[in-house]
Amino acid sequence: MQIQSMFFKERATEKLGDALLQGNMKKAKGKFVDGRARAVAEFGVWEELRTHAAKIRDRALDNLDAYLVEFERNATRRGAVVHWAESAEDACRIIVDIATRNGVRKVAKSKSMVSEEVNLNERLEAAGVQVVETDLGEYILQLAKEPPSHIVAPAVHKSKEQVAELFVQAHGKPRLTEIPAMTREAREALRDHFLTADMGISGSNFVIAETGTTLTVTNEGNADMVTTLPRIHCVITGIEKVIGTFEDFASLIRLLPRSAIGQTITNYLTLTTGMKMPGDTDGPEQMHIVLVDAGRTKLVGGDMQEMLRCIRCGACMNHCPVYQNVGGHAYGWVYPGPMGSILTPVYVGLENAGDLPNAATFCGECAVACPVKIPLPDLMRKLREQQFDRKLRPWAERMAIAGWSFMATRPALYALFAKVGARVGSWLGGREGLIHSLPGIDGWTKGRDMPAPAGRTFRELYKQRSREHG
């Protein structure tokens, strides 16, 4: 996907004024947040499992090269071809090459965020290959020619009326009003594609080192069609997805659907190892696994490696007040919300996504919701520090921070400034106690009033109280 994150502020402003989007986002929020809360409450050992899951992920990430090589060895032993892609460009080239070498004309695809990252569909289409997205949400977006706005519910920003209109255009049938009827129409339209595709492309939520296994997690069953019916199966996934064992998977899968939407388990979980075995009547004749770096090694080993634990559940965005208000498209790349505010600047460059680590209230909800205990606000803070050090923020902002830092380390000066500031602020607020506009932060006060200070500082009030109460 083309990076648009440099326009975060403009897009966020536009999205805040989009009444339709605001309505669609509000409908979804309760379902995600309440569903997760219920599932967590009935689980019993949620915190213990989060701690264990973080350990599982860290164990593999701390020895990432050895885990990957062990995975490669076992996958190869079972007949899969393992490819390594350093960049988005490499990943596309490898897959287009597999398609052209095998005379592939149609690809049926299940949801893969990595494929969105690398712009795979565009590249396959440029090579004359038809690509059909088969996850219902992704299919809707393919018809709408839009990128996903959520990593689990890609079309969360669309209303059923918008979907009905897209289906009329695409299927040429009468307009539908009910969601079950729309789902059936899409099922019928896609069934043919499953049966006639030459190649299936899927992602893999994790890859398992012990057995060389890739896997899919879906409710719709589309990934199972994609990995079973076409004669070639190609997996595209990130190098950070490796875990040790089936048991590690069992732990992580108790967290993933619960964190995503409050489901105890998804309808389908498939662990796929190698290709069709002798005598099998179904399954592909070739299996390819493309392991993609494309920026991930920049996070390895440093003070932000924890981000690679991410299992792509979407809980951080579901709980984020910023995401809830601006929606996924405002973030301008594949990954929105708190996890995207870290991954996007790292993968595509801090200079291209400077507003994202700042698009946070630091309320901390994302860190509480994260099933693998990624300290998301801390990581955003680290990116802010990098921005400051690399002089990537505006001059005025840097001066203001430097000024504040100068004062904050000199208590007497700070007290004097606070004392004057509190009185000036109180005077500016007038009888209502609200400041309508303030020079220097007028961008902020344009949309809201700032509550005025009470007139005296905390330290003054504290001293007074101590005197009165001894």
Partner: protein
């Protein structure tokens, strides 16, 4: 150097190791950690005193219907009852392990082959079932094609009560003892296919079956 070597070398450098390939000692350490097959914390309800009751409860939560019969020979009659009650045609594509049952006697046409696009019902067995989540586990093999559980609108699955386990971890232990290496597809099915991609409204019957009926053989 190729992409593989570059990626591995970058990881190793970032984590304070040299070269572009893990050492045999490092691989041995990984294998040792793997061989422990460490099991993480499991929720209390995963070890319910009445395993069958837990399995049934979770099935119902997922929209899976269930029935219990005394022996294999009673399976065709239960299938006939279920199909008739749902107004579903009395014909199915089934796994060959069930070909010897008296289907004609129950008025059902049994097609001893993998399900195709035109079969309305698929009949499968299962490797085992999992009470914690109301899940059935299917393993792919020449005699147990996955498509039979996937393409038809109705999936009927036979589960033996003796093969009902508490957790997914238990099923992996059983897989290692009885089969060894995993087959191509280790396929966990938990209820009929569904989607919530339009307005987060749950709709049963996305790409896979609309109905899953589990027949427990006591």
């Amino acid at each position: 150097m190729g992409a593989r070597e570059n990626i591995l070398a970058r990881i190793r450098k970032a984590q304070g190791r040299s070269g572009s390939e893990p050492t045999e000692a490092e691989i041995a350490m990984v294998r040792e950690a793997i061989a422990r097959h460490e099991v993480g914390p499991q929720p209390p309800f995963a070890h319910a005193p009445d395993r069958l009751a837990q399995f049934r409860k979770e099935c119902e939560r997922l929209g899976t219907t269930h029935a219990t019969v005394g022996s294999d020979s009673q399976v065709p009659a239960e299938v006939a009852r279920y199909l008739a009650a749902g107004g579903i045609a009395p014909a199915l594509a089934g796994w060959s392990e069930f070909a010897g049952l008296d289907w004609a006697g129950a008025g059902i046409e049994f097609r001893n082959r993998p399900a195709g696009a035109d079969d309305t019902t698929g009949l499968t067995g299962s490797f085992c079932a999992i009470a914690e989540t109301g899940t059935v586990l299917l393993l792919s093999s020449p005699a147990t094609p996955k498509v039979t559980a996937l393409l038809p609108e109705t999936h009927v699955c036979v589960v033996r009560a003796s093969r009902l386990l508490d957790t997914m971890e238990d099923s992996f232990a059983l897989l290692r003892t009885e089969v060894g290496e995993p087959p191509r597809a280790v396929f966990f099915v938990s209820g009929p296919s569904r989607t919530a991609d339009i307005e987060q409204t749950i709709v049963i019957g996305a790409h896979g079956p609309y109905r899953v009926h589990v027949i427990i053989v006591a």
